[in-house]
Amino acid sequence: MSENEVKIMHEQDMQKVSSKQKTVKIIVQVMLYLFLGIMALVILFPFYWMLISSVKSLDEYNLTVPTLFPKKFVFYNYVEAFNAANLGRLFLNTMYVGIVSTLFSLVITVLSAFAFSRLEFKGKNTLFAILLATMMIPGELFTITNYQTVSRLGWLNTYTVLIVPFLVSVFYIYLLKQNFMQIPNELYLAAKVDGTTDLKYLWKVMIPLALPTIISITILKMMGAWNTYIWPRLVTTDDAYELITNGLRNSFTDVSGEVNYPVQMAAVTLVSTPLFLVFIFLRKYIMKGVSRSGIKG
């Protein structure tokens, strides 16, 4: 065998290995996408089902073999859903509670986070440790007494009762405090040298710098108002103060037996859409806010 032949054989061998590796790689990639694709379908299917059901006629919905795409679009379901569940009122109530509680909550959170991150005072660390410790306690434990407290305060069936008890979130204070701490202390000292008051510094420097976190908190808080169920159910019996999730659940369970599913799905779609819109436009902040909780400690 000449030297040249050896060389060629060697090269062929190398190519073989690499082509084998290539096929393995391709197979692995195909399997990855297959798995992820199937999982994605599983995740998406309920949403798809919700959407198509919401525009089916009741007859089509009740077919023996369900159709995977509506034969005829019945958008009237939405009108019916809107009226049946009094969704307009529920939307307004929920928005009001959401916006007011978010605003107050932000003010309290920002002030507290600022105190914990930038000011020195006696008992600061002890206080913060106590706050963190309360995060371990399940909220239900508070609910029992809070129900008692608000009913004795005469707050039942008011907006106050839906807003005030949840204004302080230790978790958001913690989140924002961590963010504030990352801002170098020299900026604070520099501002002090320039004669900036604490509040102006907070407004002009810290809030702009921590804006992503503040936006995350705002969105999560608003979403919380949208999704809250247990507390409003306890403290409001008057429909005038009902929030969206309660209204949704109540309006369609009262009807015994015959549930008009297309209309129900239309209502569910209406309730879910704002959440999806917020998610689509502010995905970055939501995912950051949620994942922040993962970098704890």
């Binding site: 990639q29 990855l32 992820l36 029992i144 306890l234 879910s272 998610f279 993962g294």
Partner: protein, 347 residues
């Protein structure tokens, strides 16, 4: 008690705010005079709103829950009516002997033990796969996060619709199959006979299966997000080093990925358990307030559900006892998890 509360309330309305206002003005005045003194108080001033609210809605409830739990047969209405209660542990004794409570406990534990491992493993698999692809990664990541931004009651209703047997389900078997619902239809493609998932006369196993599927579906996004975040922060050099050594994929996964990811895994497992023990609204979403299929309410009740039931019947003593037990369980499980993960966590 109510007197105290009323006094507190009037003190709060009249006294505290005035005191604070006065203090505020006084301290504002003092800025120029005694700069140092103000500095010491400033922190508390900024925290004042948070502290007031926390005292009323967090700290007082902790104290009060302990009090109520250890007053035999305590009820808030009774107390208002002048009834007095003896100190004791009767509430706890009663609660644990109640079949309602034990079945709620069983449901909660079962759901935790089944859903947490399934969702964690599934999330880990999806996260690892997501991390290994390039095109479509962002899109898929977004899709997998979607369930997080849903209303668990609303989507619960969608799941209920999917598992539901549509139409009148009282009648011959043939009629039943005729309107079997989409899930049964899909299963039919694979030759599985229709199952009565959530309707009247459905089996406990079927109910639980639906709950497990829904809870896992709901729990995936958070776990995937955290685990993927963890994966993406792992230094690529470890993988390159492993590649040079010719380490097989499976070994890379078990010997490098999982250990490096162990803090994140521990985190999602702990939060998964905590969330699992507080399971409530997903069951309301599917079964409604009755917490069970038609004809068998409360069959799928959970710890939290039990607490609310006791509360709505004005048995605050029992509710408090149950809440404390829930807290104790969560605490113990968290500690065990932390202990185990500290031993297993590799850095």
């Amino acid at each position: 008690m109510s007197k105290v509360l009323n006094a507190l309330r009037s003190a709060f309305v009249d006294g505290v705010w005035k005191t604070f206002c006065v203090k505020w003005i006084w301290q504002g005045f003092c800025v120029n005079l005694v700069y140092k003194k103000f500095d010491k108080w400033k922190g508390w001033l900024y925290l004042a709103p948070a502290i007031v609210l926390l005292l009323v809605f967090t700290l007082w409830p902790i104290v009060n829950t302990l009090r109520m739990a250890f007053l035999n047969g305590y009820s808030s209405l009774g107390e208002l009516g002048g009834e007095t209660f003896e100190f004791g542990i009767q509430n706890f004794q009663k609660v644990i002997t109640y079949a309602k409570f034990t079945s709620a406990l069983k449901n909660t534990l079962l759901l935790c033990v089944i859903t947490v491992p399934i969702s964690t493993i599934l999330a880990l698999l999806i996260a690892v796969c997501l991390n290994a692809i390039k095109p479509l990664q962002k899109l898929l990541q977004t899709i997998f996060f979607l369930p997080y931004v849903t209303n668990s009651i609303a989507i619960g209703m969608v799941f209920a619709a999917m598992f539901n047997i549509v139409g009148n389900n009282i009648g011959a078997e043939a009629e039943l199959i005729k309107t079997a619902g989409i899930i049964n239809n899909i299963l039919g493609v694979f030759g599985v006979k229709p199952v009565n998932w959530i309707n009247a006369g459905s089996s406990y196993t079927a109910n639980m299966t639906v709950m497990v599927i829904y809870i896992v579906w709901n729990a995936l996004p958070f776990k995937i997000l955290i685990l993927l975040g963890g994966l993406q922060s792992v230094n690529k050099q470890y993988y390159e080093a492993a590649k040079i050594d010719g380490t097989p994929r499976w070994r890379v996964f078990t010997k490098i990925t999982v250990p490096l990811l162990s803090p994140m895994i521990a985190y999602v497992v702990i939060t998964g358990f905590i969330g699992g023990f507080k399971e409530y609204s997903s069951i309301v979403g599917i079964f409604g307030d009755t917490m069970g299929p038609v004809g068998d309410p409360r069959r799928l009740n959970t710890m939290v559900g039990y607490i609310y039931d006791a509360l709505s019947q004005d048995y605050q003593g029992r509710a408090s006892a149950a809440a404390l037990m829930l807290f104790a369980i969560i605490f113990v499980v968290t500690m065990i998890n932390l202990y185990v993960s500290k031993k297993k966590t590799h850095y």
